[in-house]
Symmetry: C2
Subunit: 229 residues, 2 copies
């Protein structure tokens, strides 16, 4: 008997492998203040993980204030700076390294796809040291970031994997909407601070607490880490 092909895993980064969402929230709030815009933290929290351009659009829509091109450029630049200032507080999430190591050992290929920029992403990757060169797709490599499927499609392509055999792992509804649009299987993690139901309603096949909890239930995603058959 033939079983289905082994899945490949496509991971989001912030809130999924590293514990950086709360720092992003406060960095956005500080950046917005820098251009005179006030928005509450919970509102910002629910927009982290989208493409930076869409985040800024949602801020404009919420406040009813249209930002100039200069203001948009400034708030994005300030966010980068304010996040960098908080980077030393960021840690790996429980089980990140073990999960990636287990996948590699089980012969399951994986990559990371983030809406963020390459600079901060590469700094965050240092928190989760792995044996192999990590495939990292960032906003610069695709036309549209999440919730468009482009990042995950590019990551699957880089792995020579069929997107329909891929498991997308993310902490935000933007990852899960992108997973649905790509026809991948979406797995949600609570480690970015969304509620379970929000992730389920965005299309999550399963929701786990964090990478360690996903590792403990890897068999539910079609990976058998302990034996080959």
């Amino acid at each position: 008997m033939k079983s289905g092909p082994k899945p490949a895993f496509l991971f989001d980064l912030d809130g999924t492998l590293v514990d950086s969402v709360y720092q992003h929230v406060l960095a956005w709030q500080e950046a917005l203040e820098g251009i005179g815009v006030k928005l509450p933290n919970w509102f910002i929290h629910r927009r982290v993980g989208m493409s930076g351009g869409l985040v800024v659009s949602s801020f404009q829509q919420e406040t009813g204030r249209i930002l100039s091109k200069q203001e948009i450029a400034k708030v994005q630049e300030l966010h980068g700076k304010c996040f960098l200032k908080r980077l030393n507080e960021v840690k790996a999430l429980p089980g990140s390294c073990e999960l990636l190591h287990t996948l590699t050992k089980a012969g399951v290929s994986w990559a990371i796809a983030t809406s963020g920029n390459r600079g901060p992403a590469e700094k965050l990757l240092k928190l989760i040291p792995v044996e192999q060169d990590t495939i990292l797709i960032t906003h610069a490599e695709v036309q549209h970031a999440k919730p468009d499927p482009d990042l995950f499609l590019a990551a699957a392509d880089k792995l020579s994997a069929n997107i329909e055999n891929c498991v997308v792992v993310g902490d935000s509804i933007w990852d899960l909407l992108a997973a649905q649009r790509a026809r991948a299987l979406g797995v949600g993690l609570l480690s970015g601070g969304y509620g379970e139901d929000e992730l389920t309603r965005a299309g999550a096949y399963r929701v786990y607490r964090d990478p360690a909890d996903l590792l403990a239930h890897l068999y539910e995603t079609g990976v058998r880490p302990n034996h080959s058959e």
Copy 2:
């Protein structure tokens, strides 16, 4: 015909009237690091609003590490210091002042009941200036903080209100569990960063975005701000 008595309103403070939850999360994380404990932000986030003692118990349960009396005292003291350091970032939530003002004008009595300490609570109250002296109940005035009902019972008592005619407004599941235990009507606000479903499952009669959104739907809670009948 006689209609039901006018409700009284009992408000939580952090995440309900002022935007301080994300600062509390990072303050707890920093405090925990000070005693060598690592916990992810999302896990801490979901425990903010409980009594400080229960928060620390939940940290012990999660890490499996029993803290000494000295460590418990130290982490609570550090949390206070780390939060104070971030206090200047905290703002009022949209609509807080307007909501309190409208209730006062409509002859509806209200009070604030927080699991926190009086010192920081009084500093936060300065962000929401109101005409009257505010009744503020803190952990020191009762035996058990949330999710026990003591804080809300004491606040209702101070207002000479029957707790069964009270509307409890809070952003965390701890407020809503306490409301149920007190037999008050619980209203959830998304402004502390919980998901809508989490608040509904904890017993919220209604869930609104923030104080401004509650103000816009005040009639759903039995208050008619614009006319007396």
